[in-house]
Point group: C2
Amino acid sequence: MRTIKSPHERKKEFLETARKFFFTKGYEQTSVDEIIKAVGLSKGSFYYYFKSKEDLLDELTKELSLKILTKIEEIVDRDDLDAISKLNKSFSEAAAIKFENIQLIKTLLKVLCDESNVYFRYKIYQKNTDIVAPEFYKIVQQGIKEETFNTPYPLESSRMIFELASNLTEKVSKLILEINENPENYKKLEREYQNYQLSIERILGAPEGSIDFFTDNLLNKFVRKIMSVEEL
Amino acid sequence: MRTIKSPHERKKEFLETARKFFFTKGYEQTSVDEIIKAVGLSKGSFYYYFKSKEDLLDELTKELSLKILTKIEEIVDRDDLDAISKLNKSFSEAAAIKFENIQLIKTLLKVLCDESNVYFRYKIYQKNTDIVAPEFYKIVQQGIKEETFNTPYPLESSRMIFELASNLTEKVSKLILEINENPENYKKLEREYQNYQLSIERILGAPEGSIDFFTDNLLNKFVRKIMSVEEL
C-alpha cells in the first residue's frame, strides 16, 4: 500500500533533498527535475509548493534567517544585559549560527556573488533588514537610555547598520570565494570587518572599542571553515 | 538629396529623442519603436548603437555621472581647499548638477524605485561607486594628513560613504515619489539626509558639525523642484 504523506512532510522532503543536492553538487548544477525524481513525487506536487529552484533556496535561507531572528529576539528580551552586550552578542551569536550552517552559507555566497542573481540577493537583504532591524532598534533605544549610545537618529541608524551588513556580505562573499587564488584577500577581509565594526560603533556614538564581536580569531576560523567545505 | 549623418550625430539624435520622450511621456510609457519612428532612421541603425530602451537610459545616466565626476575631479585637484571643504563642496556641487537635470533625476527615481529594475539599479550604483569612490579616497587621505579626519580605514570608508549614498538614494526615491500622498515623508526625508551627513562625519572621524552640505533649505528646494516637474 502506498504511504500517504502529509503536505508538510512532502514539502519538507523536497527541501531536504534540495539541500542535499545544493550542498553536494552545487546550486547551479542542480535541476528541479533531479530533485523531483529523487523525491519520487510528481512534478505537480513540486510546483504546488514551490515556484522554482530559487524558491527552494529562498526557503532554506528563510529557515536560517528565522533561527538567527529567534536568537536575537531572545537576546533582546533579556533584562540582565546592557545594550552594548546585546549588540555584540547578537552579532556573535548570528555568526555562530552561520558557522553551524556553513554549507548553506557557502552555497549562498556563490549564488549571491553571481550577477544574474541580483534580484534574489536584493529580496533576501530587504527581507532580512525588515525583520531584524526592528530588534536592533530596540537595542539602540536601550543604549540611548543607558547613555552608552548617542545618536539623534536611532531608527534611521538601526536600519543603516543593517544595510551596511548587507553591503559587507556582498564584498566578503567575493573575497572569500577567491581567497585560494588571492591569499591577500584575507587581509582585505579583516580590514572590511574591522571597518564595519568601527563604523557602526561610531554611527551609534558608542564608546571607543566597545563594539567588538568578530575577533581576528573568529574571522580566521570562519574563513578556514568556509574553505574546508568540500568544493562545490 | 538625403543628408548623410555622421555616426556620432545619429547616436546623439536617438539619445535626444529618447530624452524628450522619457521626460514628457515617461520611461515606461515610451517604446523603442516610437523613438525610432520619431528619429526617422532604421531599426538596424538603432540597434547598432543600443541594445535596448534601458541602454538609452543608461547612456543618459552616464552623461550625468560624467558631469558630476568632472566637477568632483576639479574640486579634488584644487590646492586652495582643505579636505572638509572639498567633501562638502563635492556633495553640494553634485546636488546642484542633479538640480539642473531634475527631469532626468525624476525619470531615474521612478525607474530605480521599480522592483523590476533592480539589476539596472545595481549596475548604476556599482559603476558610480567605482568611478567616484577613488576621488573620495583622495579627499579622505588629505583629511587624514591634515588631521581633521581620523580613520584607520581610509580606503574602506571611502567606499562605504558611497555605498551609503546609494542606499540613501533608494530610500529617498520612494519617499519623494510618494510625498504628495504622504506629506509626513518630508520629515522622514530630512531625517534620512541628516543621519547620512552625521554618519559619514562619524565614520571619517571628522569634527562634529563639519560635514554639512545639504542644509534644510536646499533639501526643501530640491523636493519642491522634483514635485513641480510635470507629472510623468
